[in-house]
């Protein structure tokens, strides 16, 4: 059986066809083969969350999935979330509240936080600080001490909830 395989997938809205080694992880694939270096590689065993990205609509560890498993999948990285404007308010809040210093964890943090905010949107709820902490519990930050990150996510949760209420009335 071959160690290389052809895959076709959608990455940030664009169709991509590549030949990859079966052993190549998704995060190495997007960084090395596609040049999308916003997703970071920290621990390579699922613990730090630096490689968090979206596959078929849910967040995953890019280091714990193989690129070949994503044949036919829809992959979104921080570049996609950023370019589409989907996380623009989160990014602004991170900047305003000093929720990043070195920025190594930030793409993963934004991607994880955005999933929680989307779930809150679907349930028309505002996540509590505990829920925010729980949802980003799998993302390590070595700089900020987390409080500023929780503040930033909480402020966006409240703003989006207000915007929803405004849109309904």
């Amino acid at each position: 059986m071959s160690m290389d395989m052809d895959i076709t997938l959608t990455v940030n809205g664009e169709a991509v066809s590549e030949r990859v080694e079966a052993r190549k992880t998704l995060v190495d694939f997007v960084r090395e083969d596609l040049g999308l270096t916003g997703s970071h590689v920290g621990c390579e065993h699922g613990v730090c969350g630096a490689c968090t990205m979206r596959v078929d609509g849910v967040i995953v560890r890019g280091c714990l999935m193989l690129a070949v498993q994503c044949d036919g999948a829809v992959v979104e990285t921080i570049e996609g979330l950023s370019d589409s404007g989907e996380v623009a308010d989160l990014q602004a809040a991170f900047e305003q509240r000093n929720a990043l210093q070195c920025g190594y964890c930030t793409p993963g943090m934004l991607t994880a936080a955005q999933e929680l905010l989307q779930q809150a949107q679907a349930n028309n709820a505002v996540p509590s600080r505990e829920e925010i902490r729980e949802h980003i519990s799998g993302n390590y930050c070595r700089c900020t001490g987390y409080h500023a990150i929780v503040d930033a996510v909480e402020s966006v949760a409240q703003e989006r909830s207000k915007a929803r209420a405004g849109a309904q009335s």
């Binding site: 059986m1 071959s2 160690m3 395989m5 080694e21 079966a22 052993r23 992880t25 190495d28 390579e44 065993h45 699922g46 969350g49 968090t52 849910v58 967040i59 995953v60 560890r61 280091c63 714990l64 999935m65 193989l66 070949v68 498993q69 044949d71 994880a112 999933e115 929680l116 902490r133 729980e134 949802h135 519990s137 799998g138 993302n139």
Partner: protein, 279 residues
């Protein structure tokens, strides 16, 4: 680190996977990958072939058949976490779910993978033992079911044969008299437990009967504390704590003495949950 080279095959049927395992004794099954991929990246294992079972239809799903709940092996943690059937008929699993890893891990990890991997500090194997559940498996010789008491054999070692695939777990469906309790201690939310306890019992008048206490993180497999079960059924929590006869080893998380102490702390918490009237 990066995994050593391997070939990859996505299969569509159980038979296909079983046949491939027969031809390739060095192959490994890939389910959620949330344990396996980490071991490959660290080169703790280097199989020559990964058999991806995620494309096999009908292996995920949660169903109630009379007084049994059946959970397909490929059911992802997040599905179980959000399932109304689990909340109502397998409340112990519902209690345990939020403690398993983090959101991104639960989006991919499977219940079957967790029971097959049998990490000694994992929640679900202990839940299965506390509920006296069953594992169903399929291999070259056909299908069989395995009682939990015969399933966990040793450290990461189960009764599954080298060519067998875990297809589902079966649990008794909870009814009005079912009581469950769950608690664990970990350094960071979502990490594997330092010590944990999953428990089930039946209400018996004002007391309890059929108490089953399954500890995890204190030995090579989940372990029952049978002497404490009897004491708890008699209504004596202090005696139940005194009767704990666990023999944990020191590990990177805590010393044996600390683990023993924490086991008692958890027993008091779980006993309180078991005594509560539950919906």
């Amino acid at each position: 680190m990066k995994p050593a080279p391997f070939a990859y095959k996505k299969v569509r049927a159980l038979d296909e996977a079983i046949a491939l395992m027969g031809e390739n004794l060095d192959a490994r099954l890939l389910a959620g990958g949330q344990s396996l991929m980490a071991t490959l990246n660290m080169r703790l294992s280097a199989p020559n072939l990964l058999i991806d079972i995620n494309g096999i239809g009908g292996l995920d799903g949660i169903a109630r058949n009379g007084d049994t709940i059946e959970i397909g092996a490929l059911t992802r943690h997040v599905q179980a976490e959000r399932s109304d059937t689990i909340a109502r008929y397998a409340p112990l699993i519902a209690r345990a779910m939020p403690f398993i890893g983090h959101a991104a891990i639960r989006n991919r990890g499977t219940l079957g993978g967790s029971i097959a991997f049998a990490d000694p500090a994992a929640e679900l194997p202990a839940c299965l033992l506390a509920l006296d559940g069953e594992v169903t498996a399929q291999g070259p010789k056909g299908k069989r079911s395995i009682r939990t008491s015969d399933y966990f054999k040793g450290l990461y070692e189960t009764a599954l044969g080298p060519q067998e695939i875990l297809t589902a777990i079966r649990l008794p469906a909870a009814d009005g008299n079912t009581r469950t309790g769950f608690a664990e201690l970990a350094r960071r939310h979502g990490d594997y437990a330092i010590v944990g306890l999953a428990a089930s019992a039946r209400a018996d008048g004002k007391g309890l009967k059929d108490v089953r206490l399954a500890y995890f993180g204190v030995g090579n497999t989940p372990l029952r504390a049978t002497k404490s079960e009897a004491a708890l059924a008699g209504g004596d929590v202090d005696a139940a704590v005194a009767a704990l006869d666990l023999d944990p080893h020191d590990d990177i998380q805590a010393s044996a003495a600390v683990k023993k102490h924490l086991a008692g702390v958890l027993l008091r918490r779980v006993a309180a949950q078991l005594m509560e009237r539950q919906p």
